[in-house]
Amino acid sequence: MRPSLLFLVFSLLVFAPVPSLAGSQSGGEVYFPVEQIIKFSKQVEKKLAEKGARVALVARVGRPASEMPEGMHFTHVSFAVYSEITTADGRKLPGYAIYNEYQSNEKPDSSSLVQDFPVDFFAGVTSLEAGVVIPSAELQKRLLETIASPSYRELHDPHYSAIANPYTLGRQNCTEHTLDVINAAIYQTNDIRKIKAVEKAYFVAQKVNVSAIKLILGALFSAEITLSDHPGAAVTATFETIAAYLQKYDEGSEVIFIKAEEPTP
């Protein structure tokens, strides 16, 4: 997973970074000692278990807050699914598996579905914190069914854009895929047109608060930014907007924020 050098230079100098940038990739730089990442990952897992979550949305911070556009903090969202995990030596251990849509390392304008684990998920974060939405028990049931069904894969569009418009087809980022899976579960459908109609009607996307000129330049210089799926002002789905959507419509869902516990002296 190697972000384009041109884009990195460009984004550092000119472009206020956009939501999923680098945040939806796996690998990359590691900002914290591995022990801290492991400790934090276990802290998140234990919190999810304490809350009784069979499936939850988990978000991480892949860029410093100072570099993020207004209204965006978390850069990557995935599903954490309580699972029986088989180790290489055949033992079965309980824990959470993470179901991601990751931007491709080799082709920044494409993505793939990857299942990894909390330590992998938090490996490249710039801040040891997590955003979590625990859906209602009923929605968790439906999500488990949807994630285990072919719909989960069918709802994936490999054409990636960091600022994919959740209301339109053609480009998708991790948050849009997450939102599509949620609505597939709620509405018990994998008809993407129905799902988009629901999202248009009920989901409030985040306006990408970056000047038009910067967006156009970003689209010109980077494959992972495109405006082709934005008929009007650029909008995208974020952890925050998905959380707000579930808080409004999924009675019983809970949003929590987890920060790394202070190290004991």
């Binding site: 299942q115 330590v119 009923e138 488990l144 709620i186 019983g252």
Partner: protein, 409 residues
């Protein structure tokens, strides 16, 4: 000669009876098939805030199986939370209409507060009498759902001792007697205010007897419960006396016998519709009018129901309504989702892009999957207690030569 005549008569009667019995069986099967029968069966045993009960889940399963054999479309829910029970009741209500016979069976803890009965979900946190109404599910709610059916049968095997009684000012066991609404039949495992034993066998005493009696052809609903009462009283030495309350206007047979019809209702469809409309017409709950529309798609009050619904929906929030309630609707569901192993639809991060996490920790490791082989992390069923391993799991290849870790300045 006399012997020959007797033999001939016997043979004749056997030959004549055989097809007659077959015809009778076919007739009974046809009668049951023609009748729409729907049941919601709930068994709660493993309570989070009270000692577990031994039999309700077994009872629910046995009843579900038998009712299925008797032509009921059964939704079975076991060890259900309050939300799961409410969802199941709503889904159950959606299946009912003016031609459907409805049966509700509950085994588990039940409590009465101020003359109202509540069934208790497994996640109930009851610390006082008032908390029963907020943590339990009112039996009245269930009866409301059954209103639309011409015959509704409610069986409550919920009269066990009150496990929360220390939290109550007045100690009271058993359920309160309720008057059965018109066209309904309510059966209790024991008399109002009394408690029933959980039972030492696989099923509670009441359920054991019920299972026997409902499978006897030709017994009317009332006769079934009369026999259950007699047998339970006898076997418990008169300490448990099942009770029922009926306002049935027709007859119902779980299995019709010779010459009996399955249902005879003295009310016309129009009367049932009128009665139902009378009950809901001033309601402010859109669900009542939606239920009416489903029950009477060509009903006489349909245009008013549509209008009421539009008005009420305008007043409520614009919630997106799920098209159906997932697995609650299919026939043989329990509240437990079976574990599903996800087949290899996602690509392996391990194969595609090894992480640059250096010095990976403890020796355990690796799951994920490579290429198109099966994913090794299988979602665990709901109901399994949540535990987290302390071992570190990652898709990062094990590397014994620690790499430098970059730390943010």
């Amino acid at each position: 000669m006399k012997h020959l005549i007797i033999l001939a008569l016997t043979l004749c009667s056997l030959l004549c009876m055989a097809p007659a019995n077959a015809v009778q069986r076919n007739l009974v099967a046809k009668q049951i098939q023609e009748q729409k029968r729907v049941a919601l069966v709930i068994g709660n045993a493993n309570y989070q805030g009270a000692p577990a009960l031994r039999n309700p889940v077994n009872d629910a399963r046995a009843i579900s199986q038998t009712l299925t054999e008797l032509g009921f479309q059964v939704v079975e829910v076991t060890d259900a939370s309050q939300r799961e029970i409410n969802l199941a009741i709503t889904a159950f209500g959606r299946k009912l209409d003016g031609d459907t016979i409805a049966l509700f069976f509950y085994a588990g803890h039940g409590l009465q507060v101020k003359g109202r009965n509540y069934i208790i979900p497994v996640d109930a946190r009851i610390d006082s009498e008032p908390s029963v109404s907020s943590e339990g599910v009112s039996v009245d709610t269930i009866l409301e759902q059954l209103n639309v059916s011409p015959i509704s049968i409610v069986i409550l095997d919920a009269c066990r001792n009150n496990p929360y009684e220390r939290s109550f000012r007045k100690i009271g066991g058993g359920l309160a007697q309720m008057d059965a609404p018109k066209g309904s039949f309510i059966a209790y495992a024991t008399a109002p205010g009394k408690t029933a034993a959980d039972g030492d066998g696989k099923n509670g005493l009441f359920t054991q007897e019920l299972l026997k009696q409902i499978q006897i052809p030709g017994l009317s609903l009332e006769s079934v419960f009369k026999r259950v009462r007699a047998n339970v009283a006898k076997r418990s030495g008169d300490t448990q006396m099942p009770w029922d309350s009926s306002s049935m206007t027709g007859d119902f047979y779980f299995i019709p016998g010779n010459g009996t019809t399955t249902v005879v209702t003295s009310k016309t469809h129009e009367q049932i519709e009128d009665e139902y409309w009378e009950k809901i017409k001033d309601s402010n709950d859109p669900a009542n009018f939606e239920r009416y529309r489903r029950a009477y798609p060509e009903g006489r009050y349909l245009s008013i129901a549509n209008l009421k619904l539009a008005q009420l929906k305008k007043q409520t929030s614009h919630l997106p309504q799920p098209v159906k309630t997932g697995n609650m609707q299919s026939g043989s569901n329990t509240s437990v989702i079976q574990s599903i192993v996800v087949s290899g639809q996602v690509t392996s991060a391990a194969a595609a892009m090894p992480l640059a996490v250096g010095g990976v920790v403890s020796g355990t490791i690796i799951s994920g999957q490579t290429g198109n082989t099966s994913v090794q992390a299988a979602p665990l069923p709901i109901g399994v207690p949540l535990e987290i391993t302390d071992e570190v799991l990652t898709i990062t290849p094990v590397d014994n030569s620690p790499k430098p870790v970059q730390t943010k300045p």
